[in-house]
Amino acid sequence: MKRLLGASIPLLAALIAFLFGAVMLLAIGASPWEGLKALLDGAFGSADRLAATAIKATPLVLVGAGITIAFRTSVVNIGGEGQIVAGALLSTSVALAVPDLPAIILVPVVLVAGLIGGAIVGAIPGALKAYASVNEILSTIMLNIVMVQLMNYLLRGPLIDPLEVEAGTRIPQTERLSDNATLPNIVPGVRLHLGVLIAVLAAIAVYVLLWRTPTGFRLRAVGHSPDAAKAAGINVKRNITTALALSGSLGGLAGAILVFGSEGQRMVTDGSSAGFTGSAGFNGIVAALFGGLHPLWTIPSSFLFGALLTGATNLQRVLQVPAPIAIAINGIVVIFVVSSGRLREKIDRMLEARAEFDDTPSTPETPAVVEGAQS
């Protein structure tokens, strides 16, 4: 009973948020009921749409799982956007360099290239924080800007499709990348590619890493108490760097998957990172925090977020409401759900204090420290 009450509060919050959305829809003369239908239909209406939702969730799962590593080590990673771009650029370059490798080799190679690209761009703020006391919120935000420019530079210069130069159209995009690098579909007849599976496996791997391996143990120790970790002989600086590198690597993997799981099979820029990432670098943070910074919970939480995003596209298409209304509603959902968290804790505590001597439940607490405290 008390579990039920506790669990129902975020749902209630989401419901209230949707009510707000409904009011906004009414205000612009659209039917909220139709809106909800379009939203659900767009997200879950057919096997392909379900697949589209899963594919939308894929980078969120990866970034979210990566965020979990960083935040569990008490470092903040707002650099998801740049890390995604880095992974995409490196994997794209590799696919351009060795297009003729057989798929069985090329697919893993480009994915690893993505991992490495993201890891490099993650390790930089990590090392800057560890060895030069540069706050990682600052450096990750700044590196996002740098990576966008690097992407624009590469895609309109060294990596541009030669045909674009020849035709004089100069669209900043690569040539169509080798089919051998395409992520294969995993369900016949449905556009559900290997990337989805990889993301789920990556999230599980992060869980295993953090809670089942010595490396993750050290990361968490550093996250909770760098002083105690240091006294116990754990290299705090190296682990901070490692955490951001690992976190970035998953962003990079997401970037590679965005390229090689895309319908276009090429990398193209509209000049912004969001145009390529769909803001997964930010949305992944939200998904991770929704998931309580637990990599496994990041999976359903990303899926829900993915549903909201694909559903919103459909909402716009079917009801002809402006796209920004969906963004605004997303914001309201985030606000309401996170606001309800403490309320839920309070109610839980009230009920628990009444219940006196139960066995003490030992759910892992979310570190309250994580959000950008130390410099």
Partner: protein, 320 residues
Amino acid sequence: GADEVSVDVGIEDETPSGDSDDSEASGDTLTMAIVAPSASDDLAFTQSMIDAIDALDRDIDLQVTDGTFVVDDAAAAIRGYAEDGVEVIIAHGTQFGGPLSEIAPEFPDTTFIWGTSSDTQGLDNVFAYYPAADEGGYVNGVLAAAVTQTGNIGVIGPVEAGDAVAYINGFAKGAEDSGDVNVAITYTGSFSDVALMAEAAQAHLSNDVDVLTGSSQAVVGAVGVASENGVAWFGTQANQTSLDPELVVASQVYHWEVVLEEMLALRDGGTLGGEAFEVNLENGGLEIEFNDGFELPDGARDAADAAIDGIIDGSIDTGA
């Protein structure tokens, strides 16, 4: 705007638009959809296409999904329209070409119209469209050379890629071919940073520039700078006179309806795609719209007309 539930455009008779859906057979009303990266009233790229559809001489039931700058979202919308049985779908963004190459073959009875692009990727139910933006750019450049008194002309662009490059290079060539002028070109590195565009314009002004032009949605900030400093402005993609009725000299305007008409005619005849179309000065798809509120120096208008003629007859090379 996107908020209209369903827009009937191009009404032939005086028939009130609301009724036509129900009364007329669906054979007469063409169902169309457009997926575009920016807002449909952006005074630029997307609006040019919306206006073109508006100008078509047909009964059209149009659905709009705009502001879809994320390629995968656009892909979902395109696919959604195709699944809904929309007859003609415009993918108004080069970057949508990737997904289109996957989607189009799955819906062989649907016509996809995609641009800007100079080829159809070999898909026979895809029409492509492309602006010869360098031509209008060239004419604007010729005018700019006539308008400038300091001999310094400033150009602002976002990223050196795509249509912006064609326009800007054409503009520079037009200006430099017509006199001893300096054309300084700045690419800010951002499509969206309005403030940066404005300051890029300011930087030009500090170098004695007295004529400005630019490409991208973010130039509205730069137009503001032009206004504030009383400097002439040349527009592209849509008529930007409304931004400053006194200082906008002329705008290169895209009239996609010229090629859309052709495509729809082909479709009526059973050809669903497979051809690329260019809008240019010759076919009237590009037009220089002058602002009567701006008084051109003597001879400028003639020089512009001469340039247009020269481009059409091939005697002028716009540098594209």
